[in-house]
Structures are given as structure tokens and as C-alpha cells.
């Protein structure tokens, strides 16, 4: 299939996401995601999108607003509410050479396509050698009063399935660079966009269409000497906020953002532990068997001799995300909880 390259000066389609940046040129997390999709669809005609209400309506969160007009209904498909078939469709199209990007309105609904994700998508290449370069995109996470069925962090379910790369970026630049990498990767991937960050976080984002962030590379978002917080997604921002406060108290915190939760960049995590010798693993998926449980285990196994204190974890309990604001706030790790945990850890 032919691919086209867009001149950098091609910006300017009325609906192009880049045109929606703020006047200072900064892009929100949501705009960064949209830019990634737009640029990849411009770059490679094999990239197609499908999902519920992504075309005419522009997506539940308006990520794909304007895409139908630009790329047409053959490449921007509104689908029936049929999550198993959204995934299966993507696999079938991928096996025939397309590079589908399927959107779930909320990551909660990925369970409605669970079998096709975990039985077909995650296993097909290992079993048969046939490539299935599918990207499943979904807004994940809580903290926005979206309640039980619109707040889930599904990454542990799918990390356990194996065979799929799972990204949970925290910053617009990372979101854009990682999503572009995911679209270009020959393996299936899950791209989980934290909905609390969509419009809350913005920064300068590269306009270079080839600015990619490698999958499975973590990043040190703040350097420190005393304690490492290993985290990802929205919790990165809470960790950074806590680190500011703690710095005022003389505790130097390093914040490692995993960015990709599977396969994990263990090296960056271990390198940080070698420096600080104390690890707080902070995550929004459930405490028991959540992503952080695996992070803690990696640290214990591979950085044991560098530890000066037990690895600690901070994560929500294994029960549904409640709606009422005080309940949800109590459920999710808050900045004060992080500070308290770091205090406990540094006193140990």
C-alpha cells in the first residue's frame, strides 16, 4: 500500500489538531494524542481508525474530531457497539496489511472485548508468526468523578495476557511520541490515555512528525538522591507535586515515570534505586497484583543489594472506584499520602 509523507508545512487543515494548540504553542495531552494520530494517518495510508462514535461525533472525548472530514469514512470508521468485534476486526484487518487503531470510549469497556484481546490479539503472533500490529486506545483512570465504570485502570489485566505492549503516558510529549511509536510497531499494543490529564496537562510538544518516544523506555522526571518514586500515568503528577513539598523539608525525591508498563524498562528503575536505595512504588491500578506489585518485585529481585529499606507500595485497594468525591479521594493515593509514605520510607 502506498504511503504518503506530509510536508511539515502541511499544517493548516481546519480541523487539524495542531491548529488547536494554545496560543503559546503548548499542547494539551488530548491534543498531543490527536496530533499523533493525525500525523500517522498522514504518514501511512495503511493506518485506519475504528471505534464507537469516533467519526461523525469526533469521539467521546473529541480526540478524533475532524478526522472523518480529513481521512474519510473508509479510514475513520464508526462501528456498532460490539467491542469483541472491534478487536477482532482490527486483528483481521491487520493480518491483511492494515494498521488499525481502535478506540474504546472508556478503558472500562475493554473488558467487553476481553476475549478477542487476550485470546486472539495477545497470542496470535507467538502461536503463528503472523503479525497483528493493532493499537487499542482508551481513556483510563480515575479522579474525575466518573465512577465505577468509567474510571478503571485495566493495565494489569492485559499485561498479564502478555504479547502486547502497554503504554500509560503522563505527559503530552510522551503521549504523542509513544503513540506514534505504537502505531509503527509491528506488535499489538494498548495505549491508555489517562482521562484526568486530557485537558489538565499541557506543555510544549515537538512538531517534528518523527519525534518518537521509544516503547519500553522509562524516564526520570525529577532527579533526586534520597528516595525513588516509581510510578506512571496521572500518579506521576502527584508524585512530582509531593516531591516539591518534600524538597522543602530536605528530602530529595527522584521520580521515575515508567511510561510503558509492559514490557517494563527495568534498567532505568534499577539505576535509580542504585542511587537512592529507597523505593516507593506508586500506582493507580489495584494494590494487589497491580503493576506496582511487579515493579516492587523487580526491585527486590534485581536491586536487592542496593536497598536501604523495604520497598513500599502505595496504591488503591482492590475494590471498585467509588463515585462520591470524598470516597474517590480516599480511594486514590493523594499527594499527602505520598508525602507521608516518603516520610515513612526515609525515616526507616
Amino acid at each position: 500500500m502506498a504511503s504518503t509523507t506530509v510536508e511539515s508545512g502541511a499544517a493548516g487543515h481546519g480541523a487539524e489538531p495542531r491548529g488547536k494548540r494554545a496560543e503559546d504553542g503548548q499542547a494539551t495531552y488530548l491534543i498531543a494524542v490527536a496530533e499523533a494520530l493525525w500525523e500517522e494517518m498522514e504518514r501511512d495510508e495503511r493506518v485506519i481508525m475504528l471505534g464507537e462514535d469516533i467519526g461523525v461525533y469526533g469521539g467521546a472525548f473529541k480526540v478524533t474530531e475532524g478526522f472523518l472530514e480529513r481521512f474519510g469514512p473508509d479510514r475513520v470508521m464508526d462501528t456498532p457497539i460490539a467491542e469483541e468485534t472491534i478487536v477482532g476486526f482490527a486483528v483481521g484487518a491487520a493480518m491483511e496489511g492494515w494498521r488499525p487503531v481502535a478506540e474504546f470510549q472508556y478503558s472500562d469497556f475493554m473488558t467487553s472485548g476481553f476475549d478477542e484481546i487476550t485470546t486472539v490479539l495477545s497470542r496470535y503472533h507467538y502461536r503463528s508468526g503472523v503479525k497483528t500490529p493493532v493499537v487499542l486506545r482508551a481513556p483510563s483512570g480515575g479522579g474525575v468523578r466518573a465512577s465505577n465504570f468509567h474510571s478503571v485502570n485495566p493495565e494489569p489485566w492485559f499485561a498479564y495476557a502478555g504479547g502486547m505492549k502497554i503504554m500509560c503516558p503522563a505527559f503530552p510529549s510522551d503521549a504523542k511520541g509513544l503513540l506514534k511509536s505504537a502505531v509503527r510497531d509491528d506488535n499489538p499494543s494498548l495505549f491508555l490515555e489517562h482521562k484526568a490529564l486530557y485537558r489538565r496537562i499541557k506543555e510544549h510538544v515537538s512538531e517534528d512528525a518523527e519525534a518518537l518516544i521509544p516503547i519500553s523506555s522509562a524516564a526520570v522526571k525529577r532527579a533526586g538522591d534520597d528516595v525513588t518514586i516509581v510510578t506512571y500515568g496521572a500518579m506521576v503528577h502527584k508524585a512530582l507535586e509531593a516531591a516539591d513539598t518534600l524538597a522543602g523539608r530536605g528530602v530529595s525525591v527522584e521520580v521515575v515515570d515508567l511510561r510503558t508498563v509492559y514490557p517494563m524498562d527495568e534498567e532505568t528503575v534499577i539505576r535509580s534505586i542504585e542511587k537512592t536505595s529507597r523505593a516507593l512504588v506508586l500506582y493507580e491500578s489495584f494494590h494487589f497484583l497491580g503493576i506496582g506489585a511487579e515493579v516492587a518485585s523487580v526491585i527486590a529481585e534485581k536491586a536487592f543489594e542496593h536497598l536501604d529499606a523495604p520497598v513500599m507500595r502505595l496504591a488503591p485497594p482492590n475494590h471498585p472506584v467509588p463515585f462520591s468525591p470524598p470516597l474517590e479521594d480516599a480511594f486514590l493515593p493523594q499527594v499527602a499520602d505520598i508525602e507521608a509514605a516518603v516520610d515513612r520510607l526515609s525515616a526507616w
Binding site: D74, T79, P80, A82, E84, T85, I86, V87, G88, F89, A90, V91, G92, A93, A94, M95, E96, G97, W98, P100, D115, E116, T119, V120, Y124, H125, Y126, R127, S128, G129, V130, K131, G162, G163, D186, N187
Partner: protein, 348 residues
């Protein structure tokens, strides 16, 4: 046996009819031999006999071209052979050998040969391939090159939500796909009357807005003609067709199942008067397309083919155990390089 004969009044030329009979006899013999070896403890894993249903498998697949794709189930070894799979490699897969189609990553009839014979690797969660066939069919529609997809499932799988999702979606988009239901009257031990409340599965097609036909699975040519019409409709942009082909599962669900829940009279009736292999042989004899000598020769070729394939399978080495973790990710190159060939072989 005719020679230089004028066109017969059957829907296929003589040579293809003889090929059809050869395939039916081969499938029957392979099925019987595999069951014998399984019961002798000489075949590892599992077997899922398709005996009695060969008419459905051969009749439908004979309507396909090599470029069309087939999405079968574990009971459709006959269909896989009809699609062109090499019996040597099929048996190597049954014995877990490196020369099997999936390099030992999967066993028995969970075979796939996508790049060769456009045959999708079977999975157990039925009808898990139906959604994937939607995506492939979309790709053919998009390419506009006349290819079609054909997916098979049993009567049992029609109770699953994905069956509805996939047929509905394909109907909405008028995709070039043929939905084949091999109604062998039992979902494991559950008979049709406990599976659905309508008299036939075919009549459900009305609700999706597509044609539905019900054919006698014991009549290979009736099945073929139904499939041929459906394929022609799909290639011409007429959308999907539902074909219900009725037969009886002569054996248990799997090799371990004596199938005592199948009424004895029903089984005897089907074995005596609805044997698709015998009926088709009789028909070709009547049409003077084969004679005793041809049948004898054909049977000898069938047995020789099996013995050769069996020997090929047993001579093939096992996969290299050190390769067990390879091939999860595309980039490790396992599936594009010659695989490691492991230790010796064992008697079978």
C-alpha cells in the same frame, strides 16, 4: 468410467469431482487413523473428529479460491485439508514437531497457515474467529479485488454474542464474507433444542438482513452449490450469506467422549443413509465418473498419503526448548528465521 466425456450434469468438472472424492476419503481415513492412534496412546494431545461432517467441509471450501481466506474451528480439519494444507505438516503439528505449521506452538487441528493457504490459526473460544473474519472481509472490500472470507463454526457457537456481533457488523457493511454453520446437532452434549428456539439457524439471517440457506450436509454438491452462490454474491458486492449445513457428529466432542447422549437410532440413521463420503462415491459411480478400479486406486493413494505423512511427522524433530520464549515479539525475528530443531523423535 468416462473418458473424453461431455460435460456431466453435475456442478463441477469430472476431475474436480474426483478430487473432491479423494479429499472426502482422505479426510475420513485420517480421522479414523488419528482416533485409532489416539486410543492406542500413540498420539499426544487431543483429537476432534469431524466424521460425518465432511460434506459440509469439502462442499463449502471447494467454493473458495486459494486467495480467499478460511476461518475454521478445531473440528474442521477436513476443511483445512480442502483449503490446501499439506498433510505432512498437519501431522507434524499433531505430534508437536518443528515442521508442523505452528512450530509446536499449538497442537492438533489448531492449525493456521495464513501466508500460505490463507487459513486462520484455530482457537478454542468459539466463535472467536468470526470477528476476525469481519476485519479480513473489510480488507477485501476495501481492496475491491473480489476476495472473500469464509468462517465456520458449529451450532453451539451460534449462541455466543460474538456470532451476533460479527454477522450484524458484516451485514451493516455488506462485507464479502460467508458465514458457515456446521450444524452437527450437538454442542458437545447439548442438542439443538436446548440451544435455540427457532426451527433453523438459517432463518436468523432474515433478522440481519442477509440471505440464509439451509442445506443437507450429507450432500456435498448441495453444500457446494450453496457456498458457490454465496461466494459469487460476496465477490459481486452483495454482502454476506449465512449457510447452515446440517449433519450429525458421529463421534464425541473430543477423543475422550463416547457421546452416549446421541440417540442410537439417530446415529445409525445418519451413518447408514447420510454418510457424505459414501453418498458422494455412489453418486460418482452412478454418473460413471469413478469405477471400482478408480476407487481402489484412490483408497490406496489415501492410505499411502497418510502413512507417508505419519512417517514424516515422526521423523521431524521437536522444537528446540531454548526457543520457548522466542516469537512473542516480532522484533526477535524468530518467525522469520529458520527455527531451532531440537532433540530426537519418539515412536508414535
Amino acid at each position: 468410467m468416462r473418458s473424453d466425456a461431455p460435460a456431466n450434469d453435475l456442478p463441477l468438472p469430472d476431475e474436480q469431482l474426483r478430487d473432491m472424492l479423494y479429499l472426502l476419503k482422505l479426510a475420513r481415513y485420517v480421522d479414523e487413523r488419528l482416533e485409532a492412534l489416539y486410543r492406542q496412546g500413540r498420539l499426544p494431545g487431543a483429537i476432534y473428529s469431524g466424521r460425518g461432517q465432511e460434506g459440509t467441509h469439502v462442499g463449502t471450501v471447494f467454493a473458495l479460491e486459494p486467495r480467499d481466506s478460511l476461518f475454521p474451528t478445531h473440528r474442521d480439519l477436513t476443511a483445512q485439508l480442502a483449503k490446501g494444507l499439506d498433510l505432512n505438516r498437519v501431522l507434524a503439528q499433531f505430534w508437536g514437531r518443528i515442521d508442523g505449521y505452528l512450530r509446536g506452538r499449538d497442537g492438533n487441528s489448531h492449525i493456521g497457515d495464513w501466508d500460505g493457504n490463507r487459513t486462520y490459526a484455530v482457537m478454542s473460544h468459539l466463535p472467536i474467529a468470526y470477528p476476525v473474519a469481519v476485519g479480513a472481509a473489510w480488507a477485501y472490500q476495501r481492496a475491491g479485488d473480489g476476495r472473500v472470507a469464509m468462517a465456520i463454526c458449529g451450532d453451539g457457537a451460534t449462541s455466543n454474542g460474538r456470532w451476533h456481533e460479527a454477522i450484524n457488523w458484516s451485514a451493516v457493511q455488506r462485507l464479502p464474507v460467508i458465514w458457515v454453520v456446521n450444524n452437527n446437532q450437538f454442542a458437545y452434549s447439548t442438542p439443538n433444542e436446548k440451544e435455540f428456539a427457532v426451527p433453523t439457524i438459517a432463518e436468523r439471517a432474515v433478522a440481519y438482513g442477509i440471505p440464509g440457506v439451509r442445506v443437507d450436509g450429507a450432500d456435498v454438491l448441495a453444500v457446494f452449490e450453496a457456498a458457490r452462490d454465496a461466494v459469487e454474491r460476496a465477490r459481486g458486492g452483495g454482502g454476506p450469506t449465512l449457510i447452515e449445513s446440517v449433519s450429525l457428529r458421529w463421534r464425541g466432542h473430543a477423543g475422550h467422549d463416547p457421546a452416549k447422549y446421541v440417540p442410537r437410532e439417530l446415529l445409525e440413521h445418519y451413518m447408514l443413509s447420510k454418510d457424505p463420503v459414501k453418498n458422494f462415491e455412489d453418486r460418482l459411480r452412478e454418473a460413471d465418473i469413478v469405477d471400482d478400479a478408480a476407487i481402489t486406486d484412490m483408497q490406496a493413494r489415501v492410505e499411502q498419503a497418510f502413512e507417508e505423512a505419519h512417517a514424516y511427522a515422526l521423523a521431524s524433530p521437536f522444537p528446540e526448548p531454548g526457543d520457548v520464549d522466542k516469537g512473542v515479539w516480532v522484533e526477535d525475528g524468530y518467525w522469520t528465521a529458520e527455527p531451532g530443531r531440537g532433540g530426537g523423535t519418539e515412536a508414535g
